[in-house]
């Protein structure tokens, strides 16, 4: 089942996750439909990031499973699910020595994306910094570049770890707009966050 552009839903059934002997959460079930956003709230260390890493397939659940439904069929295989995921981690994953344009272009090639990277940079207000090495960018600009990567990836399921961190007022407004746009096009968003997402239809607390 090749994960196409569209996902109909992601369902979690009684997920349990443990770090070593410590149980982070168990019996967790939720369902995210196309066009919906889910906020994962909870104190630090409650396992928000672990849940995202579990969905991404980096961690395997101690119990329960994750079911991905797409028009082509359904699968609970983490490798297939990984191909549908756009990842915005806690760290930006940017190389200080590479320029903004280089970084985004090589990412686009790595993800075999056909999006025009310059247009995306324009949209995120980073066009002027195209030839700057990333070490000259501010924390907010680095976050925008990570968001640009998300747009370029063209992946339907966005997993965002603290999307509003290190962003000023209009930066956060930009994130909210991008998420609304993504959901509007039938994408899904699962975000670990402290403050409410604003547009989230559902939220779970760990």
């Amino acid at each position: 089942m090749v994960v196409g552009r569209m996902i109909t839903s992601l369902t979690a059934e009684k997920l349990a996750c443990a770090r070593g002997d410590r149980i982070l959460f168990e019996g967790l079930s939720f369902r995210v439909e196309a066009g919906q956003a889910l906020a994962v709230e909870g104190a630090n260390g409650a396992g928000k990031t672990s849940l995202l890493r579990l969905i991404a397939g980096f961690l395997s659940p101690r119990e329960g499973r994750l079911l991905l439904k797409t028009p082509e069929g359904e699968s609970s295989d983490s490798d297939e699910r990984a191909q549908a995921i756009g990842w915005l981690g806690h760290h930006d994953g940017l190389k200080p020595q590479l320029t903004v344009g280089e970084q985004l272009k090589s990412f686009a090639q790595l993800y075999r994306s056909t999006r025009d990277t310059d247009a995306v940079l324009e949209e995120l207000g980073l066009a002027r910094q195209k030839d700057f090495p990333c070490r000259f960018l501010s924390a907010g600009q680095r976050r925008r570049l990570a968001l640009a990567r998300l747009l370029v990836s063209g992946r339907p399921l966005w997993l965002l770890d603290e999307p509003f961190a290190a962003l000023d007022k209009d930066g956060q407004a930009l994130v909210a707009r991008l998420m609304a746009l993504h959901c509007g096009q039938g994408g899904l968003v699962i975000a670990a966050t402290h403050e409410p997402l604003g547009l989230s239809n559902a939220s779970i607390r760990l």
Binding site: R53, F58, Q83, D92, G93, E102, F107, L110, R149
Partner: protein
């Protein structure tokens, strides 16, 4: 294929810009090749006999220097998560990393080895065999090294354990590589050693991406 090239190109650019690319490995290699005669003495006959062994060991150690950064940089700044979710399998990611490491260490070392062989007064024949053996053998240093680098990924001082884990596994490369140079010095055919070295390097380059990918996968769950 272009995804593989993208990753390889990115790593080569990174190596060129941050670590000074091959300069680090070349500098170390040349320094060892200069220090040893100072230690052992200028007797040309002795130096010629030990040249193959010394230059091979120096090449392996030089390759070792930049190994613990192979995955560490991407692991720490979060780009490994992004790479792991790309269409590229972790096995091909490991292969790209091995290739990038070889281009920035193994290959340059091989290219200047004839120059350093002069310091040891190594005759032309053995110098050519040394060149060929390094060309064939240094990829196995990057390949086996990638296994060590991925296994020690999550350790803060992973760099200390890396040599202990991989050097025993690299002895066949040193034995066959330096052995073929010594064989020619003793008037024997170096062909046997070189073929065995090629077999070892091929096996290493084929098997290590799988072991390295498995090790990266387990560390991603960290």
């Amino acid at each position: 294929m272009s995804a593989f090239r993208a990753l390889l190109g990115r790593d080569l650019r990174l190596a060129a810009r941050s670590g000074g690319g091959a300069a680090l490995a070349l500098g170390f290699f040349a320094l060892v090749a200069t220090l040893v005669p100072l230690g052992i003495g200028p007797d040309v006959k002795i130096l010629a006999r030990i040249a193959g062994g010394i230059l091979w060991v120096a090449a392996v150690l030089a390759g070792l220097l930049s190994l613990d950064r192979l995955f560490q940089g991407d692991f720490e700044d979060g780009s490994l998560d992004v790479i792991a979710l790309s269409p590229l399998s972790l096995e091909s990611v490991a292969l790209a990393k091995i290739l990038a490491h070889w281009f920035s260490t193994g290959l340059p070392l091989t290219l200047i080895s004839p120059l350093l062989a002069i310091l040891f007064n190594l005759p032309p024949g053995p110098t050519l065999v040394l060149f060929i053996s390094l060309l064939i053998g240094t990829p196995s240093v990057s390949a086996v090294g990638a296994i060590g680098a991925s296994l020690t990924l999550s350790l803060k001082r992973g760099g200390l354990i890396l040599p202990l884990i991989i050097l025993p596994l690299l002895t066949p490369a040193v034995i066959f590589g330096a052995g073929s140079v010594a064989a020619l010095m003793d008037g024997m055919q170096p062909g046997g050693g070189l073929i065995l070295l090629a077999a070892f390097a091929a096996a290493a380059c084929l098997l290590s991406p799988f072991a390295a990918a498995a090790a990266v996968r387990l560390n991603l769950g960290g």
